[in-house]
Symmetry: C2
Subunit: 284 residues, 2 copies
Amino acid sequence: MEIVRTLEELRAAKKNMKGTIGLAPTMGFLHAGHISLVKRARQECDHVVVSIFVNPTQFAPNEDFAAYPRDLERDAALLKEAGTDLIFAPMDEVMYPQGYQTYVTVEEVTKVLEGAMRPTHFRGVTTVVAKLFNAVQPDKAFFGQKDAQQVAVLSRMVKDLNYNLEMVVCPIVRDRDGLALSSRNTYLDETQRKAALVLSRSLRKARSIFDSGERSSKAIRAAMEDVFAAEPAAKVQYVSIADTETLLEIDHIKSQALVSMAVYIGKTRLIDNTVLGKPDESLD
Amino acid sequence: MEIVRTLEELRAAKKNMKGTIGLAPTMGFLHAGHISLVKRARQECDHVVVSIFVNPTQFAPNEDFAAYPRDLERDAALLKEAGTDLIFAPMDEVMYPQGYQTYVTVEEVTKVLEGAMRPTHFRGVTTVVAKLFNAVQPDKAFFGQKDAQQVAVLSRMVKDLNYNLEMVVCPIVRDRDGLALSSRNTYLDETQRKAALVLSRSLRKARSIFDSGERSSKAIRAAMEDVFAAEPAAKVQYVSIADTETLLEIDHIKSQALVSMAVYIGKTRLIDNTVLGKPDESLD
């Protein structure tokens, strides 16, 4: 496994790659969710590239860019073990050199949910992922369903900008107790960690009444609110029941709907989701 | 030579290409300027792809999108003769399908000159060129110096978005009388065509006094204004003397400066330019 830090090194390394390339873009501090992307890429592609870059443009000034956990040495060991061929871990000045002024914007699907709460977030995500796609030129790109809106936004970008690659979306990975893995879980103390289980509990509740035949978003939402009411340490920012592509809210579910949420546990903001009408191995 | 009209056909055609790919993006209705790009690509690359697409997003509502001249049959004959391997001529609905919502924006260098006169123009250019780069994945891309700001904007985009390709900028091609070739020259009647020579005449004047040692933009501009004053049919929209990368106006020229202009001859808007301090085979 090779680690490269500049575009020149990346290009040199790519020259030796014959066959298909799979890319898993990450911000590092890897957990089993990230590793599941790498293993899937290992199965589907001849070469596996993982990028590690804590991308400043997707954090707002009041967010945790500086505090975001970083540990390249540990990440590299995990990635080697999982079958990674190449780590691209650029410095900030490689990705955003002086005079930088170009952005990729997906206009509609970024306006709701996470985008409504974090207005500059997705412009940062689409820009950095476009840059990684351009530099690595992968045949397949691997993302986790955990960031459901990110997946919807990037799928739209790939389609609109004619990227010659396939998006592969991998299921959410959860701890045994049901908490969706996230690098931000490291911020939770023991009590908060227990309170955080309310997210997956509310999603299971939604799946169970949907599976019993309920199709009204209002009714599903009410049932989820009962679950949250029983956990006063959780402060719900939003719960959404939306179209899986446009992410616009829907009242009556025809075949599928994305149920997603953002919830504060103390100062830590957690997100989670499931797609109703579709198997979810992480919750079923 | 093959002509493809969909992304699927393009991908299939690309599969048969081993070695380097050169791309010349055009809006069709080709003239010798475009053909010079194709010939340069033929010299430098194993495969030559030319795109023909009159891109709606780079025209403002009041501009000549509908009237813009189109002649695919003639273009195809010229391109075959010049050594093109593949023409990519997508339909509008292939490039901008329903639900389209993604744009690439270069923020600073698009604010001046053509960008100041045509506020949405460069967003359309950068978006469509990003799409063509993503779909074709060329090793080199060929553009004409005629659209000097386009070259500056796209060079910035390629650098900022880490496109794994080389920009090749080819000299302006002029008719014997000095008029820079443009698909829009077809709008000029015989009298207007003669009046249009004032653009290249003013650029020659600028080069000649620069070469005599003049470094003051004010003095160079005054000399050019004298040239325009002698041609009342020409209505100058702007004359700029600017830094070649940022395109910001400069008062005193150190080594190089881009002299560029937009001039109305009747209802036809023409642009032209030269780089002072650099050989210009089209004018010297």
